[in-house]
Amino acid sequence: GAGVSQSPSNKVTEKGKDVELRCDPISGHTALYWYRQRLGQGLEFLIYFQGNSAPDKSGLPSDRFSAERTGESVSTLTIQRTQQEDSAVYLCASSRERGADTQYFGPGTRLTVL
């Protein structure tokens, strides 16, 4: 079946603008995760959704970052007033359920803030 998809694949924006990144998880996966990978660094956890439970937002770096997910479907990650340090690859992953730790990743969105 289809894997995790993300859009856009690349986004170039000017400092101060808002951006919205989209993730379509694998159908039936109840858990959804957002990560960020800055150049030369590892994956940095941002936020985790599990079904209808309150999301784990502990990784969001500032209040400029927010994410939403409707039910068990699409999620959007919004970055307001982008800064150059927000430049990174933003990766989305999904897994079958809480406790199923094998996460399946999308190809990522490369964000460049000029």
Binding site: G42, L91, D101, Q103, G108
Partner: protein
């Protein structure tokens, strides 16, 4: 606080030889460990995992070893192939919670 560390940023191995990638962790509550492989411009793909109740898990050319007392795990690839060249991420979790990733090790397999 880096809970999962991959201290070697890169590793170069001759085709056919063994590749050994290492990972150390600090959180003794971690009970599930995974290795992911990532090619450029793609998302990470799951490779192999191990639960803390085991000390070894094998899948074809890939074997993961877990030393709980040393809080250390390693991934062995035998024999290494050029197609194995990628970034390898170690990850750990307290089962059912978010994964904590290491910074990754770039593996280059030379033919």
């Amino acid at each position: 606080d880096q809970q999962v560390k991959q201290n070697s940023p890169s590793l170069s191995v001759q085709e056919g030889r063994i590749s050994i990638l290492n990972c150390d962790y600090t959180n003794s509550m971690f009970d599930y460990f995974l290795w992911y492989k990532k090619y450029p411009a793609e998302g990470p793909t799951f490779l192999i995992s191990i639960s803390s109740i085991k000390d070894k898990n094998e899948d074809g050319r890939f074997t993961v070893f877990l030393n709980k007392s040393a809080k250390h795990l390693s991934l062995h690839i035998v024999p290494s192939q050029p197609g194995d060249s990628a970034v390898y991420f170690c990850a750990a979790s307290v089962r059912g919670n978010k994964l904590v990733f290491g910074a990754g090790t770039i593996l280059r397999v030379k033919s």
